[in-house]
Amino acid sequence: MRGGKLEPMTEHKEQHAEQSAPPAIDAQHLVKRYKTKTAVDGISLQVAAGETFGILGTNGAGKTTVVEMIAGLRKPTEGSVRILGLDPFTDRAKVRQILGVQLQQAYLHGSLTARELVNLYRSFYPDPLDAEKALAMVELTDKARTKFDNLSGGQMQRLSIALALIGRPQVVILDELTTGLDPKARRRVWGTIESLAEQTVILVSHAMDEVERLCNRVALIDAGRIIAQGTPDQLKQQAGTSTLEDAFVALTGREIHDDEEDD
């Protein structure tokens, strides 16, 4: 569970309260078809305000396509998305201010230093985080004068997270948060995400331990469809397994591997 701090009763109350409030993210019947392939086939999901929602699936399952449609980067063939009541395509300018996105394998201006990049992205928002605090939040203060091209993979990832959070977004999308990071770097990144107490977070991942640790609820996606949805405990219970990984295998009939990343 996210942070692992909530008592069961409190958690239950929180979920009940969330169910009665309008969802922060409401995706209905999303379909994405290409010429010869249907990448996403009728996915619906609702994420409550303050919730961390995991999207879990194998390579090519359609995870990234789903979040790209939610972020307004890819227009759905069918279906609709609302983020805090706003359409990411028709209300683009408004959505960009409340949404923070960390894209899978996205590059930044390589010759700029970490601090220069933070200051550049700060300038896009009306009330951004302080630059030094943003760097400290992802433990990059000592790398502030290092060019992006010279950062390690983990440092690049942490800087990307800082930039996703720099505009104080209410909704955050994190795509393959820790892919390629060593265990120490992964734990640092997890710590950053656990500190996001107020934001609604969608976390795309194929890492079971990450999803189990960070997410309140999880959707298992396979071949463009949601196979199962619920809390990690509910999914394990539903599959009759003791681990989320076993539940995933039992529910989808597929193995999931750490080297998978792109959708």
């Binding site: 300018a93 201010q97 894209l103 590059y107 201006h109 060019k147």
Partner: protein, 258 residues
């Protein structure tokens, strides 16, 4: 929170300045992107000085052979190397690395990067022309155009035409490497026919005519008119304006941010 609680705000002046600063740093820290468009024209300037006979002979009062032939070529070179080779390669790199996609999920738009790139490259153009003029005046006794106003108007038209061509390169090039390759071929093609390697008058008639209908040749002829203080031929304006319009049209149809 409801949809009415969020106000749509476009990035302000500070964001524009930061983005222009970022693009400038990218250009400055990428030495090739700075040295080629500034250094190559100066080398060509010196080569023209060596090749052209009687460089101090006056074609009209105060207009030397060197000023008339070399400086229009060098100015057109500065603009075209930046607009046709440099700018498309930056855009192709940004597209390949998904940098533009990253910006698309912020309040800034990828179009802001394009504008910032153009602002920075225009500053490069002014810097390159300044350096070339300084060298030409100090070492070759060159003179300024008789009509500075006409020269300024031709410079703007030349920039529009070359950026149009550059946007065509950026639109059709699938990778950064292919962008440089296509840009170089386009640049040397129009420049060779426009007088970069010697006066266009020395070309066979058919090639000379072809060159005058291409933006480099048209720019050189238009600048030469400015140097003599004469009106620019309508064909030159037509070619420069047409190149800009065609480039914008092709870019609108084919350019992809990702």
């Amino acid at each position: 929170m409801t949809s009415t609680a969020v106000q749509a705000r476009r990035p302000g002046l500070n964001a524009w300045l930061k983005l222009i600063e970022a693009e400038a740093k990218m250009v400055i820290r990428d030495y090739a992107g700075l040295i080629v468009p500034l250094g190559l024209p100066m080398l060509i300037l010196v080569m023209q000085g060596i090749m052209i006979d009687d460089i101090h002979q006056e074609l009209a009062e105060g207009v030397t052979v060197f000023s008339y032939y070399a400086l229009p070529v060098v100015i057109s070179m500065v603009v075209s190397t930046i607009a046709v080779i440099n700018m498309p390669s930056f855009l192709a790199t940004y597209r390949k690395t998904k940098l533009l996609r990253r910006l698309a999920v912020t309040p800034a738009s990828p179009a802001m990067v394009l504008v910032a790139q153009m602002v920075v490259s225009f500053i490069q153009v002014i810097l390159g022309i300044g350096l070339a003029f300084a060298m030409a005046m100090i070492f070759f006794g060159a003179s300024l155009p008789q009509s500075l106003f006409t020269a300024a108007a031709v410079l703007l038209a030349c920039c529009a035409a070359m950026y149009g061509l550059g946007m065509i390169v950026a639109s059709i090039a699938p990778t950064p490497n292919s962008s440089v390759a296509i840009g170089l071929v386009a640049f040397f093609g129009i420049a060779a026919l426009g007088g970069m390697f010697g006066p266009a008058e020395n070309l066979p008639d058919a090639l000379q005519t072809l060159g005058s209908w291409l933006p480099f040749g048209a720019a050189v002829e238009a600048f030469q008119s400015a140097w003599l203080g004469e009106a620019v031929d309508a064909q030159n304006w037509l070619v420069l304006g047409g190149s800009a319009v065609i480039g914008a049209g092709v870019a609108a149809a084919l350019f992809r941010w990702e």
